[in-house]
């Protein structure tokens, strides 16, 4: 049973930020609510005030900024991202990720910003956005700041947002030439949460086949989504071979701090990280060569 709360539905960002500033820790922001309402129903979250920003259309947009990449408003739905020609052209890994994120009913109503702020390490957008080197814009009455996505998640279901701050925009830089990105997750039921999710982005140097840059991000492999930086170190500057990808998988597996839960043991998750990092590394490499 959901506990009673006082409800506000601000129409503008300014109004929403004033409410946040006033109520801070006693309030909770709801966007699509596809994750939040479950926690409220279970009595795990009992806010005194609920600020409903779902209807705030000024944060619902996808803008292409050419060389500067892509800007996605925090209230853009998963379905809108999936169906956006702007994202399909050049950021297709985001589309692939959205298509397996959840059932269509949830994708229709849930938002990308709400998903990130829920900060469940098993969710799909975070690892993909980490591989794409995304930045997040947060606003408060005092102003704005930009947070690298890998600094956004501080603990299980916790983010770096201050109580008076709202996530307003996701900024995805333009993908460099000769770059391939891939994401996959393993789960029992299709479209369910990941048991482990892995995103890999590889940029090859234009003249040689050497790996110029690489980003490996893991979902459901630690209390937060994480980057596997030691695994990246195995590949950076090298000509990527099967053996190197195996080594990167092993390093990533050692870097992971998986939890055991109803879906899988920590040991099983470590094994999955090893395999999926290699598999996605291979896929990203193939795509980089074609790009």
């Amino acid at each position: 049973m959901i506990r009673d709360f006082e409800y506000f539905a601000p129409k503008t960002l300014e109004e929403a930020l004033s409410l946040l500033d006033k109520y801070r820790e006693t309030c909770k922001v709801i966007a699509g609510g596809q994750s939040l309402l479950k926690l409220m129903r279970a009595g795990l979250i009992t806010p005194q005030y609920l600020i409903d920003i779902k209807g705030m259309s000024e944060l619902d947009y996808i803008k292409s900024e050419g060389k500067n990449g892509l800007k996605i408003g925090a209230l853009t739905t998963h379905r809108a991202i999936e169906e956006s020609p702007m994202i399909q052209n050049g950021f297709s890994t985001l589309v692939e990720m959205e298509r397996i994120l959840a059932f269509i009913q949830i994708r229709n109503w849930g938002t990308i910003g709400g998903n990130l702020c829920h900060a469940d390490p098993a969710q799909d957008p975070a690892p993909v956005l980490m591989a794409l080197n995304a930045k997040l814009r947060a606003s408060s009455l005092k102003g704005e700041r930009t947070i690298a996505i890998e600094d956004f998640f501080t603990d299980y279901l916790k983010t770096a947002l201050e109580p008076n701050e709202l996530l307003t925009e996701i900024q995805v830089p333009a993908v460099p030439p000769h770059t391939g990105t891939a994401y996959t997750k393993l789960n029992i039921i299709e479209n369910d949460l990941a048991i482990v999710g892995v995103a890999v982005s590889i940029t090859l140097s234009s003249s040689t086949d050497l790996c110029q840059d690489v980003r490996i991000a893991l979902g459901a492999s630690a209390p937060t989504p994480i980057r596997a930086k030691r695994a990246e170190g195995v590949l950076r500057g090298k000509k990527i071979t099967d053996d190197l990808l195996t080594e990167a998988g092993e390093k990533a597996s050692a870097e992971a701090e998986p939890l055991s839960d109803i879906n899988a043991s920590a040991e099983y998750r470590r094994q999955l990280v090893k395999i999926l990092v290699k598999r996605m590394g291979k896929e990203a490499l193939t795509r980089a060569k074609q790009a």
Binding site: I2, R3, D4, F5, E6, Y7, A9, I30, G33, Q34, L37, K38, R41, L50, D52, K54, G55, R79, A102, F103, I104, Q105, I106, N108, W109, E190, N191
Partner: protein, 159 residues
Amino acid sequence: MKKELRLTVNGEAHELYVEPKSLLMDVLRDQLGLTGAKRSCDTNTCGACTVILNGMAVHSCSILALQANGGEVLTVEGLAKKTELHPLQKAFLDYGSVQCGFCTPGMLMSAKALLDKNPTPTKQQMKEAIDGNLCRCTGYNSIIRAITAVVNGEYKEEK
């Protein structure tokens, strides 16, 4: 404190007063008496509560009623025109797509949302559209056959 909620449901405008914590499903079932959308898993999983909100299939158990303020809702009760069943409903009957019937309203609404946007979906797109609706009796093949029959024009909608 109750808040005002304006909602058009199956073409009829309503002005209601609801608790902020009321879910869309609560308002449809308990205040409007439309019990087609089923209260089932209550955790955004099974799809038995699916309705169409502003043209999109959504889980009515996982949306606050106030979030639908000003919106248009279509429930399974709004599919038939008086005594004339909707083509999807006729096809579901003819193709044995209903056994216990619990998932049926949700299945119908997911199928309707799909056909409204894309009248000629592929089999894969049909599967994706009902992916969020669990059925534990007839299985999904008979449901896909029924949707296919409608797509193939076996059932004409009454004008």
